[in-house]
Amino acid sequence: MSDIVVQAENLTKQFPVASKRLGEKPRVLHAVDGVSLSIPKGGIFGVVGESGCGKSTLGRCLLRMETITGGSVSFQGRDITNLSGRSLKSLRRDMQMIFQNPYASFDPKQKIGSAFREAARVHEMPREKAEVRIRDLLREVNLPEDALNRIPSEMSGGQLQRLAIARALLLDPSFIVADEPVSALDVSVQAQILNLMMDLRNKFSLTMLFISHEMSVVRHLCDQVAVMYLGMVVEQAETEELFSRLLHPYTQALMSAIPTLDPDHKSRRIVLQGDIPSPIDLPAGCPFADRCSRCAPQCREARPALRDRGGGHLVACHLV
């Protein structure tokens, strides 16, 4: 395989939770629980799951926007698990993030151009070089130059998301985390942004972690996919492999819950009962046991390990 840009080994992130009563044993929220992944140069790694499954926290951990509780993260072969201060700041230049709501990623009163120049200044990019680069990028994302003189409220959501992508590319990063970048957009605009991301990936061989709750989007764009549930990866494989045989009951349910254009699809639907349980004080067994239609006694006793079922298709289930 080509060179690995980002690698995580058994990555764990826990948040302390305030105790309800004085003297109560402190509790922890398991946001990310033992996730391992590696993304080769030019690869797009998709993470899917419902809200609260830890997909955003995983992205933030890889960028070292969070301190890490356990396991390790390495970036371009260098261990960055415990970096801090100046060495962490120099890392930021190589790693960028794109968020869900483009209106919240720009200062509403700052002109777009100024927001771009600020990013260049913080990372000490020479001014002339920055100006040229900004104009090149605007062309890449199909926006006119006069966008630089406008403020965010004068732009549509799709245009602003293009600008957020352009700004993320400004410093020529090696790794981008895109956290639900198309979830707030209309389908026709979503299609434009997905096309743009595919073009940019091909052109700049971008390496990306793509976080989404939509299976269809991930399937369209990503090379590898991990399905998360309560901080754990329950299934992980190459995209083609994963979608050609969905093995974990949760992945199957998630896939069947998506409304499709085929009116006969509904008869095959598995409707999950109940909500995602709280990630605080997880039960000893499989985290999905309470909602799983195939739950067996051993599922309540031990947590299933993520095992290879052939062809690098990893599944965490006792019954598969």
Partner: protein, 328 residues
């Protein structure tokens, strides 16, 4: 069949600081008794505006409405506000996208449902509380006796939306307007809520006007659908029929931009340009500037409705033939 709700040539003009916005310019929509009717379109196309107009939920001082909205044969447009108020929550009720902002955070959910019922059904306190509990059971919130005393923040998003539905159906409405009821929810929860709505519609013989931007939801839950663009309904028909042969270029483009049907990694079809600003009343086809099939006449006049057969109508001079729009 007599329509439960019939909207004819509805126009809504909004007075804003930047001038008049022609939010709706001639909407025609009919909902039959007991059916789930979908309204799809992109943000700003007038889906929510149509829904709000039925219950007169926009500021009357800053808007102007013309046309006709008939509910059970009765014209709503000229009715005094008091009459409309009687209608809200009883014969016609509505649920919204974000349940957390629709519920009162300082009242228990049981009290909120009971309050609503006391107002509309003129019931006593005890009767209303019993009704509230019954409704919670009906929407699948168990155990109702315990949940009854909880506050909205103690419930998940899906549960909150169930509470909203319980409140909306307490007076057994004939029509439920659901404005993007599952957009803020996860797919697995969305599937639960859609199933609940379908079951309630069948059990109570209640019509639902389901507003959504997701064609997949329409395909699975609605018997008929209307596609809106720039303040007008551009195509309407049986869901199956419309999905099989979308005749308006906009509907077709919208359906084709959904990922998941073509080869992985291939480019998705997009619609060039962006929807028009609605500062001028439309005189020609509003989709013409973005339409690959537009001709001279499309830029001169608004197309009349073309009957594609079986109640399938499209507002287009050149509705697409079957071979051009085939899909699935």
């Amino acid at each position: 069949m007599e329509n439960l709700l019939e909207i004819r040539n509805l126009t809504v003009e909004l007075m804003t600081t930047r001038g008049i916005v022609y939010a709706l310019s001639g909407v025609d929509l009919a909902v039959r008794p007991g059916e789930i009717h979908g309204v799809v379109g992109e943000s700003g196309c007038g889906k929510s505006m149509t829904a709000k107009s039925i219950l007169r939920l926009h500021n009357p001082q800053r808007s102007r409405m013309k046309g006709s909205i008939r509910f059970e044969g009765r014209e709503l447009l000229g009715l005094p506000d008091r009459e409309i108020e009687k209608l809200r929550g009883s014969a016609v009720s509505m649920i919204f996208q974000d349940p957390m902002t629709s519920l009162n955070p300082l009242m228990t959910i049981g009290d909120q449902i009971a309050d609503m019922y006391r107002f509309h059904a003129r019931a006593g306190k005890k009767e209303a509380l019993e009704k509230a509990q019954e409704m919670l059971e009906k929407v699948g919130i168990a155990p109702a006796a315990k949940r009854f005393r909880q506050y909205p923040f103690e419930l998940s998003g899906g549960m909150q939306q169930r509470v909203m539905i319980a409140m909306a159906i307490a007076c057994a409405p004939k029509l439920l307007i659901a404005d993007e009821p599952t957009t803020a929810l996860d797919v697995t929860i969305q599937a639960q809520i859609l199933e609940l709505l379908q079951q309630l519609s069948a059990d109570m013989g209640m019509s639902i006007l389901l507003i959504t931007h997701n064609f997949g939801i329409v395909a699975e839950t609605c018997q008929r659908v209307s596609v809106m663009y720039a303040g007008k309904v551009v195509e309407t028909g049986e869901t199956r029929d419309l999905l099989r042969r979308a005749s308006h270029p906009y509907s077709r483009a919208l359906i084709r931009s959904i990922p998941g049907c073509e080869e992985r990694g291939t480019r998705l079809e997009t619609i060039p340009g962006s929807p028009p600003a609605l500062f001028e009343p439309p005189e020609s086809c509003m989709f013409a500037p973005r339409c690959p099939f537009a001709e001279e006449r499309c830029r001169k006049a608004y197309p009349t409705l073309f009957d594609c057969g079986g109640g399938h109508l499209a507002a287009c001079f050149k509705p697409l033939g079957k071979e051009e729009s085939t899909r699935v």
